[in-house]
Amino acid sequence: MTLDVAWAVDWVRRSADAVAEHREELIELDRQIGDGDHGENLNRGFTAVVAKLDALEEPPGEIGDVLKLVATTLMSTVGGAAGPLYGTAFLRAAKATAVPELDTKGVVALLEAALEGIVVRGKARTGEKTMVDAWTPASEAAAAASDAGASAAEALEAAAQAAADGAQATIPLVATKGRASYLGERSAGHLDPGARSTELILQAAAQAAA
């Protein structure tokens, strides 16, 4: 079983739905250790993405086209750090998926490229209480699943689960990157909003593949 452009479109629409549904939660998480705009920012971004998808005269031809549209739209509409971070992630992912269909290795390449984009842009390492703490285990879990002979859908499922665990694991961490780092020790005890939104987006990817 491989994943095609219809999967990519479904992933994006499901991500938009999930972000809209969890908008308040993301706002509340960001209010605790940030400026309280993460849910609003991402919802604005994904709403714009869906509007652009809907407005296309012809359906997108390739996975890479979909991911590139997500990248450029998030970049210019999110308005917070998540804009350039997710924007760069999707841009790198688009470049890594210039193939008609994704097999398991393709899924791994997509996730690794996305993580690389976030790290290039934000210069955070794991343990700094950012979305990197969700993307890193996600991409590692997909790679491990691939080595074990999993399907593309199974690899995404493993990635989503690892992202969820990674997000939970940000709770005790002290932030040293992003706005939460201004809080120092007081950032401990809270879930990182960007790690939580990463979990939602990767869950949407797995659901679209199931």
Binding site: T77, G79, P84, T88, G178
Partner: protein, 236 residues
């Protein structure tokens, strides 16, 4: 734009807030009317945040007509957005733009004044980045500063960088600047509160200035003076 030839380096000021970006443009522009200063603050709907499109538009305008540009950004996504814009820009544009690692307001003013003097891209960038060391003595380049000796006199040494040396304009800047501190400052033995005494030193480019300061704000005064001299008074 003024009648004179616009400076070859423009500034793009990227803030989360439109008011801050525009305010910084006003503040810096007051001291540097010949420099193209562009504000890119807030989201497209006027909220707090940064706009990729606004930053891209400002950078594009800044480097038009062959200029180069220094970008100052306030925090977080302002830096990330500016970097994203440069990553995706034409290499021809990107190579003429630098993002300063500098405090926003102080960096903008220092960069604007330096650009106004016709300085090149590296000089303007250095002026912005050096503005950070205007705060607090411990950040000043250690080579230029000596620890306070037991006699309560704070000392420092710094080399004069601007081509014309301590002529009237920099002498006036020094005297005026030091008036803000509760401190008595001597430069090569001359009373630094006196423009005339400073000019009489006849110090020229490359001369080492010996600084001695007494008073409650001696350290601050010394650091500000060292920074201004290293800055070349915006003339280098």
């Amino acid at each position: 734009m003024s009648e004179r030839e616009p400076a070859p380096v423009a500034l793009v000021l990227v803030s989360h807030s439109r008011a801050i970006a525009e305010g910084a443009v006003d503040l810096a522009g007051q001291m540097a009317p010949g420099v193209l200063l562009l504000a890119a603050g807030g989201t497209d709907d006027g909220g707090l945040g940064t706009s990729y499109d606004a930053v891209e538009a400002a950078v594009t305008r800044a480097v038009a007509d062959g200029r180069s540009a220094v970008v100052l950004a306030d925090l977080g996504s302002a830096v990330l957005t500016a970097e994203s814009v440069l990553d995706l820009a034409d290499p021809d544009v990107a190579e003429r733009v630098r993002i300063a690692d500098a405090p926003f307001v102080e960096g903008a003013v220092a960069a604007a004044v330096t650009a106004h003097g016709g300085a090149d891209l590296d000089r303007v960038l250095a002026a912005a980045e050096h503005a950070g060391t205007m705060f607090g003595g411990d950040q000043v380049r250690p080579a230029a500063v000596e620890a306070a000796a037991d006699d309560g006199v704070v000392r420092g040494a710094v080399t004069l960088r601007n081509p014309l040396g301590l002529h009237a304009r920099p002498a006036a800047i020094v005297a005026r600047m030091l008036a803000a501190y509760d401190a008595k400052v001597r430069i090569n033995g001359a009373n630094a509160a006196s423009v005339l005494e400073l000019m009489k030193l006849g110090a020229t480019q490359g001369d080492e200035l010996t600084i001695e300061v007494e008073g409650p704000q001696a350290t601050e005064a010394r650091d500000a003076l060292v920074a201004a001299v290293q800055e070349g008074f915006g003339e280098v």
